[in-house]
């Protein structure tokens, strides 16, 4: 028990990253993820060879991460919604250059500067690439502080495995909330060192670039990336099912919204209503198959998001017209209570 500590989500990401061998962090302050930057400022110096930089801007931070990654470091940056918008150019470049990196987005209310409260309005941005060009980012959506710690370690492994940027998509609440955490043992880093730029040395010169002026070569690069993305889709889908066995209505929610949904489901189950949950843990690749399979026996789905409705598009794509999909959303930084969500579910359940 002694290795269990009560820790806030933002700190847990920082600690997990350092334990996983992250040795370069660059960031720029923004609420509600400042505690992560704070943690890295304080603790990166504990790590041998660790570098912390408070960059002059979000764009600088992500490009520093790109540079560190090209030089072979496990590198991470973090921000919250408006800051993540600024980082998109760098994320697109990381994807094009096939460089591993971890980007943390603790979402807040938007669009624009919005507010600093928990929200899930960046789903489209995170899962559709976000920046320009034909690319994908692996997106992990933790729902507890323990999962933030575990998925942070996994994010570095996935980034190395596919040489691709990985985004951890949390929200203000998972970042601020404290829960007991036991930090897992990180796996040894496995990656192909061949791409790493090590400065002048023996052998042929190598370079990393994403400016490919020849159309056919660019097209070839695009299809190469797509083949990689197909492998990710095959291998890396993660989800949790909760009380779906005898359910008549399935809630689909991710992150903190899924926690609230569990609370609502437990209340409804107590009064005999058969409601279950599918919680996507990877938002890209999206767990389409389990939703499609579930639709073979249950035909009613309610998507719950702290947004005006974004993941619902992926649910509908997964269902291919099967079943009936309804939606309940609270955007703008409003965090509904389980009781409120339960009421919305009851309406749909009794329909």
């Amino acid at each position: 028990m002694s290795d269990k500590i009560l820790i806030a989500g933002n700190w847990a990401i920082g600690e997990a990253a350092i334990r996983a061998g992250c040795r370069f962090y660059a960031g720029y302050p923004i609420t509600p993820q400042n505690e992560l930057t704070e943690y890295m400022a304080e603790n990166m110096r504990r790590a041998e060879g660790g570098t912390f930089i408070q960059a002059e801007s979000e764009i600088a931070a992500v490009n520093m991460v790109l540079g560190a990654s090209a030089a072979g470091a496990r590198a991470m940056t973090s921000s919250s919604s408006p800051g993540i918008s600024l980082k998109q150019e760098g994320i697109s470049a990381l994807a094009a250059d096939e460089l591993p990196a971890v980007i943390v987005n603790m979402m807040r209310g938007g669009p624009g500067l919005g507010n600093i409260l928990p929200s899930q309005g960046d789903y489209f941005q995170a899962t559709r690439g976000g920046g320009h060009g034909d690319y994908r980012t692996i997106v992990l959506a933790p729902a507890s502080v323990q999962e933030l710690a575990d998925l942070t370690m996994d994010a570095f492994d996935l980034a190395d495995k596919y040489r691709n940027p990985v985004m951890i998509l949390g929200d203000g609440m998972t970042g601020q909330m404290m829960e007991p955490v036991v930090f897992g043992k990180p796996r040894p880093r496995r990656y192909n060192e061949k791409y790493v730029l090590k400065g002048a040395g023996e052998g042929k010169s190598k370079f990393i670039r994403a400016l490919i002026l020849d159309a056919l070569r660019m097209e070839e690069h695009n299809w190469k990336l797509v083949r990689k993305y197909r492998v990710v889709e095959q291998n890396e889908v993660r989800f949790e099912t909760y009380k779906t066995g005898n359910a008549r209505l399935i809630i689909i929610a991710y992150g903190i919204a899924a926690r609230i949904a569990k609370g609502a489901i437990n209340r409804l189950r107590d009064s005999g209503m058969k409601v279950g949950l599918i919680r996507p843990i990877t938002l890209w690749p999206f767990p389409a198959q389990i939703i499609r399979d579930t639709a073979e026996r249950i035909d009613r789905f309610l998507v719950f998001e702290m947004s005006t409705g974004q993941m619902i598009d992926d649910v509908k794509l997964a269902l291919e017209g099967k079943g009936h999909v309804s939606f309940y959303g609270r955007p703008g930084g409003v965090v509904p209570t389980p009781a409120e969500l339960a009421k919305a579910i009851v309406q749909e359940y009794r329909r």
Binding site: L6, T31, I116, Q176, R259
Partner: protein
Amino acid sequence: MQIKTIFAGFGGQGVLMMGYSFAQAAMFEGFHVTYLPSYGVEVRGGTANCTVAVSNEEIASPVASQPDYLVVMNNPSLMSFQTRIAPGGAFFLNSSIITGRPNRSDVDIWGVPTAEIASELGNPRVQNVVMMGAYVKMTRIVSAESYLKSLKSILGTKKKAAMEINRKAFEAGFNYIE
């Protein structure tokens, strides 16, 4: 069993520390626990609160629709939260400065004059821990030993004097309430 408590008061009254110390004590006892602080455009002298959920199974939501207990250190917090408390729950009121009474007859109300008790001990800063003595005794979620262990780990081993005054404050609150 799942018990949710909201600790609320002025910024500076130590309400976040109350919640954190209690949450950690519950973790020491092997419970599932979540601690959710209010954050946002907080200002000095404004209100602060945190929600602590303690359960012997996985906690679904860290948000409390209907808290079982409300630990309230000032009047504005009483106004904000009094309608949300679950029937059969309990208020712990800082009766030193709270003049109003909750408009609820379906709950227990415990008043603790934290300022007077803390002044008698010679340190007005330990009012929050006085309140925790009363809270820990009446709720019986965690033992006094676990709470004091949690407090000790927060204060650190270097500050012996700080631990001593806090232990006294805890005991005074614990003994005050019947």
